[in-house]
């Protein structure tokens, strides 16, 4: 893609947000904690004008349990995959380790979601993707970007079938459509930041937002229950 090209999503690569998901706790356990982290990420996205890629950094996370994975990852992806999503946001996990994988894969499977995770520097596709869809994602990843006709001829597919797979990647939010027939892999969108010499935005207010939503902050009482944290302040 040329520098002047415009993504259909409205320049999703123009905003790359880095968020340490261990902003409050190094161990991501319990639903209220997950909810607070998710609220902070959502607030960060809301405060960003236009589309964005949110890089969720797990490098400081010790443990993530199933409940917290559902609250942070699955609910976030579900919200921004839905047609009623509040804005155009894509998500990439970074700094994940093998022990984070099972809880996250479990909740992705439960809600039929896909996610790009960078493991040891290599982008991988997590979630319940059928083999052909996974192959399409791998292929797009190798190319970085491509049009569906190229994909069709390289894979020996009809143009309609190729377009259908690539559109499924887009609807699963693991690729970005550029115009009607061109597609960009999500890791490529993120990589463009260095290609174009733009600085990824480090969002300090994220921590502040997280602290405001923190379930156990400011001397919150013991014996509390989940309902107390349902409404963001």
């Amino acid at each position: 893609m040329g520098e002047g090209a415009t993504l259909e999503a409205g320049g999703v690569g123009d905003r790359v947000l880095h968020t340490s998901v261990a902003m409050l706790y190094s161990n991501l356990v319990t639903r209220p904690t997950g909810q607070a982290v998710r609220f902070a990420i959502e607030r960060q996205i809301q405060e960003t004008p236009g589309p964005c890629v949110s890089i969720l950094d797990f490098s400081q996370v010790g443990v993530i349990d199933f409940s917290c994975a559902d609250e942070v990852i699955a609910k976030l992806l579900s919200k921004y995959k839905a047609s009623s999503r509040p804005s155009e946001a894509y998500f990439v996990l970074q700094g994940v380790s093998e022990h984070h994988r099972e809880p996250i894969e479990t909740v992705l499977k439960q809600r039929n979601l896909l996610l790009v995770a960078v493991v040891s520097g290599r982008p991988t596709l997590w979630g319940p993707a059928p083999p052909r869809l996974r192959m399409a994602w791998d292929w797009l990843g190798q190319l970085g970007q491509g049009v569906s006709d190229e994909f069709a001829s390289a894979r020996g597919l009809s143009a309609d079938t190729a377009a259908s797979w690539l559109k499924r990647l887009v609807s699963s939010r693991v690729a970005v459509a550029e115009g009607r027939a061109s597609f960009v892999s999500l890791p490529t969108v993120v990589d463009k930041e260095s290609v174009y010499g733009r600085q990824a935005m480090e969002i300090d207010p994220c921590r502040k937002a997280a602290e405001e939503d923190a379930p156990y902050a400011n001397g919150s009482e013991r014996g509390d229950d989940a309902k107390r944290w349902r409404s963001p302040t």
Partner: protein, 309 residues
Amino acid sequence: MTFVLPVPETLDERGFETLVSGWNDAQGNKLLLDARHVHWVSPYGILGLLAVGEASLDRSGERPLLQIPESREVTSYLSRIGFYEVAHEIFDFQERVRKRSSGESDALLEITPIQSHQDVHDVVDRVRDRSAAILGKRLGYPPPAVLHFSVILSEVCQNIVEHAGADGWVAAQAYNWKQRLGRQVVVIAVMDVGMGFRGSLAREHAQQYGDRWSDETALEAAFLHGVSRYRDPGRGQGLQGIRKQVSRWDGLFTIRSGTAQIAEVPEWIDKMAIAGSLPDFPGSQIQIVMPQIVPTSGGERSAGGRGNG
């Protein structure tokens, strides 16, 4: 009238069943739990004693009396695992409460009340170093097991906060399970005397089961099928995740609730996968047993092998 309930000499899972049976016989009478002759306790047994006390208090409104064990070894262990700090909230003692010594306990996790999500965080934070030492050095588990162990602890403790409608406790201990397995194990026990699985799931799921709705079917629904009382599709994954992980470790995972018990059963123990018609008892009582991994003759590492009893 005071009903005297002798606490079994061996206070483990079987001892707890005896205790529960006696608790049912006591009905609404004031209870005196006579633990003087107890000579061995497991984490499950000791939490069971607390649970029976709490259930008695709930039922009669009166604190049950407790006669503590005469065995120095047992009382010392109870002190180290933090039994008395919790017990004084539930029982009336005939003897002075023995405070925990200031030194480090040898328990993986002392008896810890679970009342809130913050308690779950505290438990996960607290066990990290000890579980690394015990699981890694004593039981031969690979380093990631420490993290999986923390996830298990988190999920079983959250079960109390999210579903029980009452407070509960957790404890974990490594010891030599000589009689049953002939090797070391780590045992996690988690208990509450809240609404139990049947009570928790009833509103959303009882109707579809009709006459078949029971403690057994409620446990099956949650344990085998990941059913939750919440309609949210992301719920119910915790227990499923624990089952998978414990199974990989060739461990035992049991949940008792009401009149039933369900289990993920490894080969090394003879146990029913599901049992009904047990003496009724409120809440949920969970036990996870993780056996020591031993190298096999082929150099592989295995936790399996049938025990001797």
